[in-house]
Subunit: 450 residues, 2 copies
């Protein structure tokens, strides 16, 4: 019944997308995507288990076996609806404003502005196609990782290769490699120049963004619903930013934010359906495929939408999680193989998991820092009751830190707490971006021409 209402709503939206904005089509297909993902997941789950794609849920009594890599279903539904979406997005160019069949006359004959408008926007189509291409390549990388457990050094550069078509289209369509310099810095260092050209480094920066975003979502994981939940929060934050630009922004910024909304709204649709099945108590696991895919959606939007720096601001929780993990990642503090919170079967709550510092002590110079972090409530250090030496510390992940701050809790509470923190940090980042941004840079592109 609920599905039927959604289906009708989606169809109505698609009908109006012909004359109204392409965003209507994106919302319509988002509803289709929700329904398709929601119906497909329970049907394909057993097949995934049959071919060995399953995992044990360690934070449940009895450690039930759940299908793994189900995020691939959501990701592939997304790709499919984006295919169907293309004609609706470009409808006005194909049928209304040209004589049908797109514009095929030689460009030489066209001289006035009105006629130029009827040109089919091949560059927009290239952007759109390269985005889907990049996402599809990322899905393949994710599937390979889920199937074969690729080694870090092998899979690390792969997202950057997946992003090649994207960077090429960026080069051809925009080629903007200038960045704004904060007003204070420019007076001291750059002889008053407002823009500096990063050139090829800007492409390296974008390639590293394509590597960072997918991996950062993959690292903040391990609690039912957290991978999808954080992606949904990110999508909502990005959409809030897009809405700001589309309703009150300057016209030149609207195009890229419409593009961003068209990519993110269907993503939100399939993710919500996946969340329904992955939230506590999880019926399925999402797998690396979904994490890579979700991260790349934001990387793509940030790169081709020209707000990669704003996008990175939304990733602050993920960045903090990475920085916080560094002492263990670089073996300054011993890192156990699994750092997920520990499940206590008697009260059903999750407790911080701990690194044993008795057997493997941390680097000497880091001990004062550990003690300081403990004072600041940024870690939980356990001291020996007699000699006062360090026995253990909580593992350095945002998940464990949340447990240090708010005490043991049930898995769904933990997930919701982290998501709420993430959302608040994101909102603050957006406010900071638009309020403080205009102070530092002298202007903000929400209101003045960038």
């Amino acid at each position: 019944m609920f599905s039927l209402i959604l289906l009708i709503a989606a169809t109505v939206l698609l009908y109006y997308s012909r004359t109204e904005s392409a965003i209507y089509a994106a919302i319509g297909f988002s509803l289709y995507g929700y329904i398709a993902t929601d119906k497909l997941i329970p049907r394909v789950g057993p097949s995934f288990i049959k071919i060995g794609l399953f995992g044990k849920d360690m934070s449940k009594p009895g450690k039930p076996v759940l299908p793994e890599t189900i995020g691939a279903v959501a990701a592939l539904v997304y790709i499919m609806i984006m295919f169907f979406c293309i004609p609706f997005i470009f409808f006005r160019y194909m049928v209304i404003e040209t004589q049908g069949g797109g514009q095929r006359e030689s460009t030489i004959e066209l001289l006035n502005n009105d006629q130029l408008k009827t040109f089919f926007p091949h560059n927009k189509l290239s952007e759109y196609l390269s985005s889907i291409l990049c996402l599809e390549s990322t899905i393949i990388i994710g599937i390979c990782d889920d199937l074969f457990d690729l080694r870090w050094r092998h899979k690390f550069p792969l997202p950057a290769i997946a992003a090649i078509p994207l960077l090429l289209v960026y080069y051809v369509d925009f080629g903007v490699t200038y960045v704004l310099v904060p007003t204070i810095v420019k007076d001291c260092l750059f002889h008053g120049k407002k823009l500096i050209n990063l050139g090829v480094f800007y492409y390296l920066y974008m390639a590293s963004m394509a590597i960072f975003c997918p991996n950062s979502i993959n690292i903040l994981a391990g609690v039912n619903g957290l991978e999808v939940g954080q992606s949904i929060v990110l999508a909502m934050l990005a959409l809030i930013n897009d809405t700001l630009y589309l309703t009150m922004g300057i016209p030149t910024a609207r195009d890229s934010h419409r593009f961003s909304a068209i990519l993110i709204i269907p993503f939100l649709g399939v993710s919500l359906a996946l969340f329904k099945w992955n939230k506590w108590p999880a019926k399925v696991f999402v797998g690396d495929t979904y994490c890579y895919f979700a991260g790349m959606v934001f990387a793509v939007v940030g790169i081709l939408g020209h707000f990669s720096k704003t996008m990175l601001l939304l990733f602050i929780p993920q960045i903090l999680n990475f920085i916080y993990s560094c002492p263990q990642l670089f073996k300054i503090v011993p890192c156990p193989r699994h750092r997920l919170p520990k499940f206590n079967e008697t009260d059903g709550l999750l407790y911080t998991s701990r690194a044993n510092l008795k057997e493997e002590p941390p680097k000497k110079w880091f001990i004062p820092i550990l003690k300081l972090l403990n004072k600041l409530k940024l870690i939980d250090v356990e001291y020996h009751p007699k000699d006062g030496s360090i026995v253990s510390c909580s593992n350095m992940t945002l998940i464990n830190l949340t447990l240090v701050w708010f005490g043991p809790m049930r898995e769904d509470q933990l997930c919701n707490t982290i998501l709420l923190l993430q959302f608040m940090v994101g909102i603050l980042a957006l406010i900071g971006r638009h309020a403080i941004g205009s102070i530092i840079f002298g202007h903000d592109n929400l209101w003045t021409i960038r």
Copy 2:
């Protein structure tokens, strides 16, 4: 050592591709693709077996276990080299003919012909991107089929969905839905009109081509090296046709055949490496992934290169194989689960496999046809020595037919015989296309303007 020579040759070709044709880049990357595929296959084979992707080679003593789906390696290497290939193909537009960074000025300022040439060919980029997108989607369909053994009714429409971006780009860029009418027919039926517009049916025709090509390669399979071998023969035939157009064709036809060559040459590279491992005695199986992928390469080239009808001529052996199989596919004659030739361990030769017509007799009306086919040497029917009733017949596949014609032979001989037949039919088809085509249609686009 051999690899080193190839590497150097590839690099030299890439260097010259900057100033010469983009085909140099395609040949260069084809060599890279050959080396990468050749080195990767033996490394990843054990991982495929470990996750359950393996099959038994039924036509060998002891039925050895071989990794399955290895064609996915070749296909993914192809996608990766096509990514790297993009900048080389569009190099002249990005760097030489514009001031770097592509052309970004407003189109209104450009009025003369020379300046228009410096436009970046966004439509060509769209074609290229949509082709890779379509191929990548086909690879995902293939991988899903290899992993989950999709049902026929589910997987049948999927290649058409993968082809959506392709058809859209065709619509936008060309939108040509006219077909030439043979001179004789036009006088009788179409009041002397030389062209008839198929409209939307032309798109249905192209979509069915996207379904037919992948499946037709998948059906003519089951002998070591045959899937890859027939794809290599098809690639060579298509390249011969491209060479004809590129060397002596009219200028308007050159663009699409350059495009075709750029897609097929790297495909030939990865396929040759795969053939090295899949040929008798096979070390790996290619899986459905490769069959779908290879078929789609030809569908893409045929559709966007505007010679889908010529391309279908090259598929005559596959079409004949399908027609020949129909009586068994539609259960007019009983169809055993496997129709592969039977391996005889004592002499190491393959014999025709047979359908038992004693237990399950064929439809009555088909018996005279069976007897006629037997007379024509198009099938081998076994009669009961006493009552003259039909006991069995050879299975209706091109592979079994070859064995009926030339007698039992070793697997590699069988494969080579079929490939040779296929090559000869293809050459005849090309000759027919250009010689007889000009008689039927009044002209041939190799020599006159189409």
